[in-house]
Structure formats: structure tokens, C-alpha cells
Symmetry: C2
Subunit: 500 residues, 2 copies
């Protein structure tokens, strides 16, 4: 085989995989946006065919030989092509260890699980969800055994979302956060509470929708390549390449802030996905490198920018425009304070910045225990409620607002949650670095996201999966990751708000 020919084959293979990913992702998206209720089995049938084709295409003899040939000649490849071969072989070596029928059956199970989770959440019925969630955890454990028998199964899961992450690193990271967050929360709780009354009222859904598009435009999201839909749980998804990205949100009639910050959060994911260099489209290098880096972008826009005094001062006149009745007798400063109310609560995605990581720690702790075999899936609600009481001091009134709130487990995403906390901390350090060259406060006050987006594009987005997440982060930062930059940021911001 000639190298040129092999490279041509490699790009054809990637185009095929991108097409299958597009189809599978769209079938999932249709399932949670437009599909009628009784059609999950139909989608399962199609996804099982597509995932079998994907499996065969990825692990087939011809593919493996091609990649091994190119790997042997890696010295002659461009940096980009060498990276593609490296990532493809890494993915395939894992996949090959999982028997095809189990791989396919799992994809089908996840379609069903999504359907069951929606109904279980709607009807507050954990018992309905429990059997299929048990199967998901069992499958994850079994796959971990196939792919990385030398590792703890939960370490295998963590590594999938953040290359190199382990329980040991997580424990250390969460301990660092806890050492500073717990005293901070205590100090805040001793101060007079700010009011969030101005966030509540009656907020027309179509006005919220128009506001969402306005937010996306403000953030510099190209609406020609990014769509918006509503779902039970907000998320971001790409179809085949970074040229077609969709975000979703969930409108609540009594509160505008939940959807507003979902849009900004998912908008951050979308900007990252859409920011890959154009020549990465339809290759394995397109899109985000890890969920930790992904969350560093989403939570960066959501909190570090979106909940800043400067951004709120910019957005407040728009709030008055979309919700004139509700914003009467309210000031930008009222809204700023309300949006930064620190109050231990039940729902992760609506949590304030200070208590947010405790929500993540609850999930981390429970996943670890289930994956270690110390906790049965059926006991998750009891343990969930116990940990919420212990970490956050709140009573969980029902499973809908407790263990059923997130869609991650039904999607098979065990080990994802720590990315949110890691990403938040990455983001704070990226902000400090960015401030050396960008006048962020001025950008936010004037609603001009271009200089911020340019920095992120240059340092993070355009690289796609060219570097491992930690290398990418350290290169962008010019230093090692330090979780205390994040806690410093929180202490400073909330010290000012709460007069500590």
C-alpha cells in the first residue's frame, strides 16, 4: 500500500464514521424533541443496525490493517494525520474488546432507557427506572472489565470523559474544593441572605424563546449553524461535523433564569464544538477533546461571564424589553444579586456557583460506590437523599427532584459528572489567563463577545482533538492546573456580594 492511498482511505473511513455519527445523533435528538411517544422501539431497531455497521467499520480487518500500516509509518505522516491514527487506534482497541452483540445491545438498551427515564421522571417513579438502570451499571462494569481489566471499573469510566482522570485525582481535587467551599458556605449562611424575588413570576414561553435567540446572538453564536429546541433536559449535540450543532433548553413558566442559563451553558458547548478549525470537519479531530474541557467552556460562559455584574448590567435592559411587567421596580443590581444567591438546593443545573460542586460530589460518590459494588442501584434514592442532607443540608421531597433529575445515567454516561466541577475550575484559571490580554469587563459591559471568543478559538476551540486535554489546558494556561484559582475566584466574588 502507498502512504497516499492509505491516507485517502483513512479520510474516507472518517467521513463514513462521521455520517454514522450524524445519523445516530439525529435519531437520538429526534427522540427527545419531535418523536411521538410510542416510537422508541423503532429507533432502537435502527440504532442497533447503525451501531453494528459502526462496529464493523471501526474494528474490521481492513480498518485495523490500514491503521496499523499508517501507525508503522507515523514518522512520515503530518502531525494531524498521525494524531488521527493515534486516536482511531485508541478507540478501536477499546471497542474490539467488547463483543459486537453486546455493543449493539447496549445501544438499543440506551434508547429504551431514555424513554423509561422520561416516563419515570414525569411520574416520579424510580421503581420503573431501577431495572434498566441496573442493566446500564452492569454493562458499564462489564465493559470496563473487557477494556481495562487492570483498572478499577470506575477509573475506566472517568477516563472516558477526561483522559487520565482517576478516582485518586478526583478525590484530591474534590478535597481541595471542599476545604475552601465548606467554610465559604458557612460564612455566607451566617450573613443576611440576598433576595431572588425578581427571578420569579410569570414568564411567557414565547418571550423566553425570543430571549434565547437574542442571547445566542449576543454570545456570537452563528445561527446559520446552530439550532435551538426544547427538551426535558438541556444538552448540546453535533451532527456529523462542527457545521451543524444544536442546543436545547427547558422553559419554566415561573422563572426565566433557568432557561437563560441553560442557553448560555449549552451555548458555551456549542461555541466550542463550532470553533474547530474548518479542516478538521468530518475527521476524528473535529469537536471537543474531553468533557472536562467542554464544561470549562460551557460553565465559563454560564457563570464566569454570564453571572458577572458586567454581563448582567448589559443584559438587564433586554430583560426589561422581553419581560417589561416582571422587571418593573427591579434594578440590574437586584438581578445580579438574585442570580448569585447562594442557597443549598435540590437541582444541580439551577444551583449557584458556590454550592454547585457539592451536587457533583454527591453523584461522584454514588457512582463510585455503585461501580465498586458497595451500593445497589435500588438503594440509590435513599443514599442520594442522605448525601443531599449531609453535603447540602436539604431534604429531598421526591425522586423527581432527586435521583431522577439528570438524564446522564439513562444515556450511559457514568463518570461524566466530575467533568462539570473540573471544567468549572479549569474555566476560572482560563479566565485569569485571558484577563492578561483581553479587557473582559469591558467586553461584557458592552455585550461584545468577539475578543473573548477569539481568545477561546485561538487557545482552545480550533485545536479540536489535536492535543490531549491536559496538554491543551496547560498550553493555554502557560502553567499547571491549580484548583485553588477557582476557590480564590469564588471567595472574592461572593465575599464582595455577602460582605465577608
Amino acid at each position: 500500500m502507498e502512504i497516499n492511498q492509505a491516507i485517502e482511505k483513512l479520510y474516507k473511513l472518517q467521513a463514513k464514521l462521521s455520517a454514522y455519527n450524524h445519523a445516530s445523533a439525529l435519531i437520538y435528538y429526534d427522540g427527545v424533541t419531535a418523536a411521538p411517544k410510542g416510537t422508541a422501539a423503532n429507533r432502537g431497531q435502527t440504532l442497533s443496525v447503525l451501531s453494528e455497521e459502526q462496529y464493523i467499520l471501526s474494528t474490521g480487518k481492513e480498518t485495523v490493517e490500514l491503521l496499523e500500516f499508517l501507525d508503522e509509518h507515523k514518522a512520515e505522516l503530518s502531525e494531524k494525520d498521525a494524531r488521527i491514527v493515534y486516536l482511531a487506534l485508541k478507540d478501536i482497541r477499546d471497542m474490539q474488546k467488547i463483543p459486537m452483540d453486546e455493543f449493539v445491545a447496549y445501544q438499543q438498551l440506551l434508547v429504551e432507557a431514555d424513554d423509561v427515564w422520561h416516563t419515570a421522571k414525569e411520574t416520579d417513579n424510580f421503581d420503573l427506572y431501577c431495572p434498566i438502570l441496573e442493566k446500564i451499571f452492569e454493562t458499564e462494569k462489564r465493559f470496563a472489565g473487557y477494556c481495562a481489566p487492570e483498572k478499577h471499573p470506575y477509573d475506566y469510566c472517568l477516563d472516558k470523559y477526561e483522559n487520565g482522570l482517576t478516582m485518586e485525582k478526583c478525590d484530591e481535587f474534590f478535597a481541595a474544593l471542599k476545604s475552601r467551599l465548606v467554610p465559604l458556605i458557612k460564612k455566607i449562611s451566617e450573613k443576611q441572605q440576598v433576595s431572588d424575588k425578581c427571578l420569579w413570576g410569570e414568564f411567557d414561553e414565547s418571550a423566553q424563546e425570543k430571549f434565547s435567540y437574542d442571547l445566542m446572538k449576543t454570545m456570537g453564536i452563528d445561527l446559520n449553524h446552530c439550532g435551538l429546541a426544547t427538551t426535558e433536559h438541556p444538552f448540546t449535540i453535533s451532527f456529523g461535523s462542527h457545521h451543524d450543532v444544536r442546543i436545547t433548553t427547558h422553559y419554566f413558566k415561573d422563572n426565566f433564569a433557568s432557561s437563560m442559563y441553560s442557553v448560555i451553558h449549552e451555548g458555551g458547548h456549542a461555541l466550542y464544538d463550532m470553533g474547530s478549525a474548518d479542516d478538521l470537519a468530518y475527521t476524528l479531530l473535529d469537536g471537543g477533546v474531553s468533557m472536562g474541557i467542554h464544561e470549562s467552556q460551557s460553565r465559563f460562559y454560564e457563570n464566569l461571564l454570564g453571572r458577572s455584574r458586567e454581563f448582567v448590567s448589559y443584559i438587564f435592559p433586554k430583560l426589561c424589553e422581553y419581560f417589561p411587567e416582571q422587571m418593573k421596580n427591579t434594578t440590574a443590581e437586584d438581578v445580579y444579586k438574585a442570580l448569585n444567591l447562594v442557597k443549598p438546593s435540590l437541582i444541580r443545573i439551577d444551583a449557584d456557583e458556590v454550592t454547585y460542586c457539592l451536587h457533583v460530589m454527591v453523584r461522584y460518590e454514588l457512582e463510585k460506590r455503585v461501580m465498586s459494588g458497595e451500593l445497589a442501584v435500588k438503594d440509590l434514592p435513599t443514599e442520594w437523599n442522605k448525601l443531599y442532607k449531609e453535603y447540602l443540608g436539604v431534604e429531598v421531597p421526591n425522586n423527581k427532584q432527586g435521583v431522577l433529575q439528570d438524564s446522564h445515567w439513562s444515556g450511559g454516561s457514568i463518570g461524566y459528572f466530575p467533568s462539570y466541577a473540573l471544567g468549572s475550575a479549569y474555566g476560572a484559571q482560563l479566565l485569569r489567563k485571558m484577563k492578561q490580554s483581553v479587557d473582559i469587563d469591558e467586553c461584557l459591559r458592552s455585550g461584545n463577545f468577539a475578543p473573548i471568543n477569539d481568545w477561546n478559538k485561538e487557545n482552545i476551540w480550533k485545536h479540536g482533538r489535536m492535543m490531549d486535554p491536559n496538554d491543551l489546558l496547560e498550553k493555554a494556561l502557560g502553567e499547571k492546573f491549580d484548583p485553588f484559582v477557582y476557590t480564590d475566584y469564588l471567595e472574592k466574588k461572593y465575599g464582595e456580594i455577602y460582605n465577608i
Copy 2:
């Protein structure tokens, strides 16, 4: 090879083809419902990969050998399996004659064409659309040459939508219709015109949407397996099997009837698609057998039932419920008359029953001339307008309401239009037959579609593609097709309304 093994392979092949069809159909549907404007190239990329896979799967050596083996043993196959082998071989023999790269390129071209057509219609710009429409007609001609060099290229096109249909048959059919419709229209034009004032006003889109769902329920459509969306041009599509069907409509703020009859029309298609026997799912026999039979169902519900005095008397109280202001001072009889106003007009899908077939004849005539090489695509607008003047006596004020109104050509559906007229005529004869055993008037007066649907299910729907369209029709009718049953129906109904 054992026969049992071969049959197992045959079903696996069909499941794969169903999955690819699901993915491709969903990508199209996404493109016209939710996708951001700039994403067509991305969909084209994915569809080109999927259509290449479909082509290889359908025409590959292994598939052809399998089907030929089963064909040699057809005496030993069940009726169902023998039919599957027959249809698969028929499809493949056509497909094999088209070079793969041309097949794939055409799928990609159609994605682009859909996008161009939307913009051209929006901006009333035929020049923008002309070059790509030329390519579509050229490709259809070239493919006709590959697949059926012995035939006139337009006969090849007609046969794709109604097995066995030719220009000769069409000419005869349209001549029969014309011989009765032209005098009828003349007589009506000499009478005092009924008023359709009550259809016009301001109709809130969300009320129209709620009304759409109510109509679907009234028609007996299972909303667990049939979704509704809005698009520029209404259509019906299935995803992988009859268990997941979607219809679309288009709301106009100044008129409720357009969307109402789009919903009923597409609902008729959906009922047919969803009515396949369950054991046909994921096989080549699932869904409708031809577009003529399909339109016999859609136009049956839309007109023969939906525009009857009995149905209007049933639906009128609902209209008053959804549009109370607009229906004030109006009676069911006013609405019935208004919905049956005979008036030569510009838009096919909004045309009355009497003039409708003339709209079809314009398109038939133009397609025939372009496919014969007598008419250049660039001259379509001029000829369109000339024929509208000649057949319908109306002046076409712009291309948006003229040659750009339909989505069929941009989707490559050349030869489809005659199905609408044929289907309308099939429907009238089916109605006469059904009346022998079902009290249709009583069903419509009480909004009880079950006996009607049961008859259609038994005689049409459940058979899927088990029989050729003409055999299916004659079996259901117990006699040969006779277009004058349709003209008799029109003369009787409109004779009464217009006192002729």
C-alpha cells in the same frame, strides 16, 4: 446455501435497508423542519455516504446472489417472501444500471436543490432555481436512459410512482376527465357564486395547531406513532417502519382551511402508511404500494370525506370552539358551501375538487414536454403561466404562486403529479364500493371514523406492497377502474350545491 439461512439473510438485509431509509428520511425531515439554514452541505455530505452504503448493500454481489438463489427457489417460498424477492430484484435491477457515483451525486444534488428551492420560493426567484432544476431533469432523463432505454423517458418516470402507468394511459385518463370537467366548470361559472368569506380572517397559529391535533384524533390517527410538524410544503414521511410516521402542515394566519385540509390530506397518507400489517414492519412490503393508491387515500379523507356536508356538520362546533370570534354569525352550511367553492385559482393544494385535476394536467403537460426535450427548463415559468391561463383562465402574478409553488421537482419527483388525479378518481370508486357496507354519512355526522378506517385497513392498508397497485385496486373494488365514477360524483355533488 440452505433456504432457511437465505431467508434469515434476506430479513437482515431488509432490516439494514430500513435503517438506512430511516436515517436518510430523518435527515431530510430535519432539513425542512428544525435544521439551521447553513447546514445543507453537512447533510449532503452524510447523505452521500449513506446512499453509497445503500447502493453497495442493494447491488453488491452477495445481495444479488442471495436474491437470485431465492428467486430460483421461489416455488418453495411463502407468498410474502416470494413477493419480497420479486420486489427486491426489480428495485436492484434498476439501481444496478445507474453508476454508483451518479446515484450518490444525485442524492447530494437533491439536498442542495431543496435548499435552493426554499430560498427561490421565498424570494420569488426562478433564476436562482433554474440551473439546479435543469440538472435534476437532465439526471432523470439520463437515469431513464440507463434503466429503460426502450421507453420514452417520461414513461419511465410515470411508472416509478404508479406501476404500469404510461403517457398513453394518462392522456386517455385526462381526456376522460376533461370531457366532463370542462362543461361542469362552465355550468358552475354561469351560476351565482357561493361565498367563502367565513374561511378568511385572523386565525391564531397555536389555535390552528391544537385544532390539527384534534383533527388527527378525530380521523383515528394514533398520536403515539404519528407526529406533526410545520414546513413550507406539507408532506408525510415514515421512519424505518409504519410504527413511526410524521405529517407536516403549513399554517396561514388569514385562513384556517388550508392547514385543515393539509392535515386531513397528510393524515390520509399517514393512516395508509401506519395501517400496514404488523408483520410487514422492517421489510420491503411495509408502507404504501404506489403514489396513486397513496393519493387515493389522502384525497379520500381530504375531499370525499373531509369536504362532505356530513363531516362539516360534525366539525363545525369544533371550529366554533377553536375560533369563536371568527365563527360568530356563521353556520355549518355556510362553511360547507365555502369549502366547496369552485373557483379556478393559482395554488394546487388549495384548489377545489372540480378544478384540482386541471392543476395536475398543467404539471403533467410541462413534465412531458421537458422530458421529451420539447421544452427548456428555463422556459417553464412562461409555459406554466400560459397553461394556467388556458386551462384555468387565471393570470399568474408571480412564480412564487406559479411554477415555484410545489416542492416535488426539487425532490426529484418527476412523474409524481398524475398520481394526485388518479388517486382522486380511485378514491371516488372506492367510496362507492365502501358505501355498500358502511354507513359513511352516519360515520361522518358522528365523527366516528372507525368503520371507515376498518374497511380501508382490510381492503387497502394492511396489504402494504403485497400486490401491484392495479391488482390491489381491482380486488378492493371488485371491478375495473372507471374514471367516470369520479366525474359522476363531482357532477352530483356540485350540481346540488350550484343548483345545476
